[in-house]
């Protein structure tokens, strides 16, 4: 409390003496920018040639009005090159600051903004509005519990990812102290696509089997297992262990090759192909006639 009071008196003093501390100047600039932005906003929507309507899923267990899920419509200005995430950010900044969604890098790397957009799992930051049918319907990922608005509980997804023990456990380490572990270029090429996973959860959400069987590892986790199982630097024992996890009842055999995951993967990982290869791998390790 006491600091606040002194700050206020400082402000007055400084305003009078026109002598500003750096923090004061920053605050002032920030307020100015905010004002400019606010003044800009209505113009922005007039400036735009087109507006696009976003129908956004809303739910908040802590607000009585939002306890029953509903869709809210936001009209946002459309500019060339605009992504769905841009539209969401505009809606949040200008209409409803309580609109909640995850986003971070805005360039399809962090994997936090996978949403159900017009009925398909996509990354909001990577989805151009122009490619979609308008109005655009934005929902949280299906088959995951909704925490608030577009935010879903990803805990189960992360559990499945960790269930395949996604780490290296090589049989032998290089002899010299700081020697690298070498990998043939061909082998790198083989696992290249599987390493692209950004843990966005789009595949798991699109998978019909995962929806019905909560214990199913899911495409992302199996792909993660593939990434290590197919790596030549992986130790033989570890590979066997991992195959044992994969060939369980809720492992690779649950996949019914619907190709839903492959279809929605924003990083174009051939998930079904990887799952099928691990199925063959599991058979090979169990059937030995020689």
């Amino acid at each position: 409390m006491s600091t606040q009071v002194t700050e206020k008196s400082d402000e007055k003093e400084e305003a009078e003496s026109t002598e500003q501390s750096p923090g004061e100047r920053r605050r002032e600039e920030k307020a100015k920018r905010q004002q400019e932005k606010e003044a800009e906003t209505p113009e922005l929507i007039d400036e735009a040639d087109e507006t696009v309507e976003l129908k956004i899923f809303r739910f908040d267990p802590e607000v009585p009005d939002k306890e029953e899920p509903r869709f809210d419509s936001f009209t946002v200005p459309y500019f060339e090159g605009m992504t769905v995430l841009d539209g969401l950010i505009y809606s949040r900044d200008n209409y409803d600051s309580s609109l909640t969604f995850r986003h971070s890098c805005r360039q399809a790397v962090c994997g936090s903004d996978a949403l159900l957009i017009n009925g398909t799992q996509r990354l909001a930051c990577k989805t151009q509005m122009v490619d979609l049918e308008w109005p655009i319907r934005v929902e949280p990922l299906p088959h995951q519990d909704v925490v608030k608005d577009l935010v879903v509980d990803m805990e189960h997804f992360y559990e499945q990812m960790n269930a395949v023990e996604p780490y290296f456990d090589p049989d032998e380490l290089p002899e010299e102290d700081r020697e690298e572990q070498k990998q043939r270029p061909e082998n790198r090429e083989k696992i290249k696509l599987s390493t692209r996973c950004i843990w966005c959860g789009a595949c798991m959400s699109s998978c019909n089997v995962a929806a019905g069987d909560n214990e199913y590892l899911g495409p992302a986790a199996i792909n993660k297992a593939y990434r290590f199982a197919m790596d030549e630097r992986e130790g033989g024992d570890k590979k066997e262990d991992r195959l044992r996890i994969l060939e369980q009842e809720h492992g690779v055999w649950r996949c019914q090759t619907q190709f839903s995951c492959t279809e929605v993967c924003p990083k174009d990982i051939p998930l079904t192909e990887h799952i099928q290869e691990l199925k063959r791998e599991a058979v090979k390790s169990n059937l030995k006639f020689w």
Binding site: P69, D153, Q258, S260, E263, P270, Q276
Partner: protein, 138 residues
């Protein structure tokens, strides 16, 4: 986090418009599979209860088995159902081959094309079978 909202799995079939080729192939494969099982049991039930061993009747082509078959074939709906049965079986076989290829890891990039291909081939075979099944009905 006080509580979460479970939207359930119902939306799956509500989203049929967004189904991709692989999903449709899966749905149709299950569907045709159940029809074939249903047909198989009906087939066994009908034919196993339609056997009579009266030698005189057999020679006169008047035994229960012949009569049952003739009665069935007289019904127009049965003729149409036979075309349906053929298409269902053909699709199930073709898609089964497609799934075999998928399991072997052959041509996974063109899995949607092979699905459309099996649909088209099914249609062609069904159309080609019409003269055989519907011959003499109208």
């Amino acid at each position: 986090m006080s509580s979460t909202y479970d939207r359930g799995t119902v939306e799956n079939f509500g989203r049929w418009r967004e189904f991709s080729a692989g999903m449709w192939a899966w749905v149709l494969h299950k569907f045709t599979g159940w029809i074939l099982i249903g047909y198989l049991f009906t087939h066994i039930a009908v034919l196993s209860t339609a056997t009579g061993v009266d030698q005189a009747m057999v020679e006169a082509n008047e035994d229960i088995y012949t009569n049952t078959l003739q009665d069935l074939e007289e019904l127009v709906i049965v003729r149409f159902l036979e075309i349906g049965l053929l298409s269902v079986a053909v699709f199930h076989i073709l898609n089964g081959i497609r799934l075999l290829m998928v399991d072997l890891g052959v041509g996974l990039e063109s899995q949607d094309k092979s699905f459309y291909g099996s649909l088209a081939l099914t249609a062609v075979i069904a159309v080609a079978s019409i003269p055989t099944f519907l011959g003499g009905v109208f």
